[in-house]
C-alpha cells in the first residue's frame, strides 16, 4: 500500500535538519536572547523612532524608537516560553485526569470523561476567550486559559493509551510482586505513555504557538512595554500604511518558529512512531 512515508524520504530528512537547526537557534535565543540583544529592548528613544534598516539598527526601530532586532531577540523567551509552559501544563492535566480515568476506570472514568466531553463541545478558541474573561487578562491567565481549553483532548488520548496498556501481564506481575497501584502506574505505564505523548505534543507545539500568539495579538496577554511577538504585531498595526516592515519581522519569527517545530515534530513522529506515519495529522 502506498503511504506518505514512501514518497520523498530525502526531502523529509532535509526538512528535519532544517527544523532541528532552527529549533536549536530558538532555544539559544530563549536562554540568551536578552543578553545577546544589542540594545535594551524596552529603552525608548523618541528621536530615533521609525527608522529604517541601518548599520546601528539592523532591523530599524519601532514607533517609540526601540530597536526591533533587540525586541525580537528578547521576545523569544516570552513567546516561546509561554508555549512550552502551556504545553507542560496541558500535559500534566492530561496525564493526571486521563491517567486516573483510564487506570481506575469505573464510575470515576465515566464522570471525568463526561466533563472532558463537555469541554470539547465548546470550540477551543471560544473556550479560551471565555476563560480569559473569567480569569482576567494577562499572560499567566492566557496560559491557564489555553491549558483549561485543551486539557480534555490530551486527557482523552492519555486515557486510551493507558487502557491499551492496562491488561498487560507485566502489570499483573508487578501487582503480584506487591507494588501498589500508584507504584505500578508510575513505573510501568507512565514511561510508555510519556513517550507517545511527547510525539503528539511535539506535533502540537506549532499549533499551540499560533493559538497563544493569536490571543496576545488581540491584546489579551502580555501588556505592551514587554517585548513579545504577538504584541509587537499588535503595536505595529497602526503603522501598516507607513512602515509595513514593523509588521514583517515579528510575524516572520512566529512563522519560522511554528515551521521549525512542525518540521521537527514530523521528523520525530516518523522516527519514533512509524505507526502514525500512514495517517496525516
Amino acid at each position: 500500500m502506498l503511504t506518505n512515508a514512501m514518497c520523498l524520504p530525502r526531502s523529509r530528512s532535509w526538512g528535519a535538519w532544517l527544523g532541528a537547526v532552527l529549533v536549536a537557534l530558538l532555544l539559544l535565543l530563549t536562554l540568551l536572547g536578552p543578553w545577546l540583544a544589542p540594545y535594551d529592548p524596552t529603552a525608548v528613544d523618541v528621536s530615533q523612532r521609525l527608522q529604517g534598516m541601518s548599520a546601528e539598527h539592523w532591523l530599524g526601530t519601532d514607533h517609540l524608537g526601540r530597536d526591533v532586532l533587540s525586541r525580537l531577540m528578547a521576545g523569544t523567551r516570552l513567546s516561546l516560553g509561554t508555549v512550552v509552559l502551556t504545553l507542560c501544563l496541558i500535559l500534566a492535566l492530561g496525564i493526571v485526569v486521563g491517567g486516573v480515568a483510564g487506570f481506575i476506570g469505573g464510575r470515576l472514568d465515566t464522570v471525568l470523561m463526561r466533563i472532558g466531553e463537555l469541554f470539547m463541545t465548546v470550540p477551543t478558541f471560544v473556550l479560551a476567550l471565555f476563560f480569559i474573561g473569567v480569569l482576567g487578562t494577562g499572560l499567566s491567565n492566557v496560559i491557564l486559559a489555553i491549558a483549561l481549553s485543551h486539557w480534555a483532548w490530551y486527557a482523552r488520548m492519555v486515557r486510551s493509551l493507558v487502557i491499551s496498556l492496562r491488561g498487560r501481564d507485566y502489570l499483573l506481575a508487578s501487582g503480584l510482586a506487591g507494588a501498589s497501584r500508584l507504584q505500578s502506574f508510575i513505573s510501568h505505564i507512565l514511561p510508555s505513555v510519556l513517550g507517545q505523548l511527547m510525539v503528539l505534543a511535539s506535533l502540537d507545539i506549532g499549533h499551540m504557538m499560533l493559538h497563544v500568539s493569536g490571543l496576545s495579538f488581540l491584546g489579551l496577554g502580555v501588556s505592551p512595554p514587554t517585548p513579545e511577538w504577538g504584541v509587537m504585531i499588535n503595536d505595529a498595526k497602526e503603522y501598516l500604511w507607513t512602515h509595513p516592515q514593523l509588521l514583517l519581522w515579528p510575524g516572520l519569527m512566529i512563522f519560522l518558529t511554528v515551521m521549525a517545530f512542525n518540521l521537527l515534530g514530523d521528523a520525530l513522529r516518523d522516527r519514533l512512531d512509524p505507526s502514525l506515519r500512514a495517517g496525516e495529522h
Binding site: 514518497c7 478558541f125 471560544v126 480569559i132 501598516l240 510575524g251 496525516e280
Partner: protein, 314 residues
C-alpha cells in the same frame, strides 16, 4: 434516516443544557465579583450600598442553584440578561453581529472545501511528482502561517502597494477575498493533505485493483471507487475545521474591521462583561454543535454502515 436526524436534534438539548451549566459554574467560580464589574462598567461608584443593591438586582445574593434556575428560565424565554457595557439585551447585540460572522465563516468553509478538494485530488493522482510536491509545500506553508500575520501581509500587498482590494469593512465580494483567505488557509491546507492521504490509502485497496482489472476506465475508477471511499475521513474532519474556522474568524474580523462578533466578544472579554460572555459562549457552542450534527448526518447519508449503528442507539 429521519429518525436518526430527529435523535441527533433531540440530543442537542441535553448538550446545550450541560454546557450552560458548565459555563455558569465556571463564571461563578472565577475570581472577582460580577457586581463590582457591573458597577465599574456602569460607572457607578462602588459604595457598600451600591454593591449590595447591584448584588440584589443581579440576583447574586440568592443561592447558586436558584440563580442558575432563574437564569435558565429566562434563557428559555430568550432573555439572556443585559450587557453591563451597552445596557442592551445581550441576545439583541449578539444577533446584530452574528450575520456578518456567519457570512465570513461560511465563505471560509466553502473556500476550504472548494480549494482543498481539487488540490488533494491533484496531489494524489501523481504521488511524489511535482504537483504533489507543490501541494505539500503549500500545505506546509499554510499550517505554519499565523492567520493574523497573513492578513496583514495581504493588506500590505493588495491594499497598500497595489491598491486592488479594500483593506477593511464589509461590502461586495472584493471585501471578502482577503479575510476569507486568511481564515481558510489553515483548514484548507490540512484538508488537502488529509484528502491526499485518504485517496492514496483508498487507491491501494483490492477493490480498486479489481476495478482496474475489469477494464473500467481510469476516470470511473477514481470517481466511483476511490473518491467515494476517500470522502469519509474528510467529511469527519469538516466538523473539526468548523471549530478552527470559528476561532480564526473572530481574530481576522478584528483586523479587517469586519462588523461581526469578533471585536464585540474581545471587548466583552476585556471588560469582563459576564452576561455577554455567557451568551456568546453558548451561541458559538450551539453553532459548533449544530455544524457537527450536519456533518454527522451527511456522514450517515454517505456511509450506510453508521446509519445502522445510529438506529440501534435509538
Amino acid at each position: 434516516m429521519l429518525r436518526y436526524i430527529a435523535y441527533r436534534l433531540a440530543l442537542l438539548i441535553p448538550i446545550l443544557l450541560a454546557v450552560s451549566l458548565l459555563v455558569f459554574v465556571l463564571l461563578h467560580m472565577g475570581r472577582g465579583d460580577p457586581a463590582l464589574d457591573y458597577l465599574r462598567l456602569s460607572q457607578i461608584p462602588p459604595t457598600d450600598a451600591a454593591l449590595a443593591e447591584a448584588r440584589h438586582t443581579l440576583g447574586l445574593d440568592r443561592p447558586l442553584a436558584e440563580q442558575y434556575l432563574v437564569w435558565l428560565w429566562r434563557a428559555l424565554h430568550l432573555d439572556f440578561g443585559t450587557s453591563f457595557v451597552t445596557g442592551r439585551p445581550v441576545l439583541d447585540d449578539l444577533l446584530y453581529y452574528l450575520p456578518a460572522t456567519l457570512q465570513l465563516g461560511g465563505a471560509a468553509l466553502a473556500v476550504t472545501l472548494l480549494v482543498s478538494l481539487p488540490l488533494g485530488i491533484w496531489a494524489a493522482r501523481r504521488p511524489g511528482r511535482w504537483p504533489d510536491q507543490l501541494v505539500r509545500f503549500i500545505a506546509f506553508f499554510g499550517v505554519s502561517m499565523p492567520n493574523f500575520w497573513l492578513a496583514f501581509l495581504m493588506i500590505a500587498l493588495f491594499s497598500v502597494l497595489l491598491g486592488w482590494l479594500p483593506p477593511m469593512g464589509r461590502g461586495g465580494l472584493e471585501h471578502l477575498v482577503m479575510p476569507v483567505l486568511a481564515v481558510a488557509l489553515m483548514s484548507l491546507s490540512i484538508n488537502a493533505r488529509l484528502l491526499r492521504a485518504s485517496l492514496l490509502e483508498a487507491s491501494g485497496q483490492r477493490y480498486v485493483l479489481y476495478a482496474r482489472l475489469r477494464g473500467l476506465p481510469e476516470g470511473q475508477v477514481w470517481r466511483r471507487h476511490i473518491l467515494r471511499n476517500a470522502w469519509l475521513p474528510v467529511v469527519t474532519a469538516i466538523g473539526m475545521h468548523v471549530g478552527e474556522l470559528i476561532g480564526g474568524t473572530l481574530v481576522i474580523e478584528t483586523i479587517f474591521a469586519w462588523p461581526g462578533l469578533g471585536r464585540f466578544a474581545v471587548s466583552a472579554v476585556y471588560n469582563r462583561d459576564f452576561p455577554v460572555l455567557q451568551c456568546f459562549t453558548l451561541l458559538m457552542t450551539g453553532l459548533f454543535v449544530f455544524c457537527n450534527l450536519i456533518v454527522d448526518v451527511l456522514y450517515a447519508w454517505l456511509d450506510p454502515r453508521t446509519r445502522l449503528e445510529g438506529a440501534q442507539v435509538c
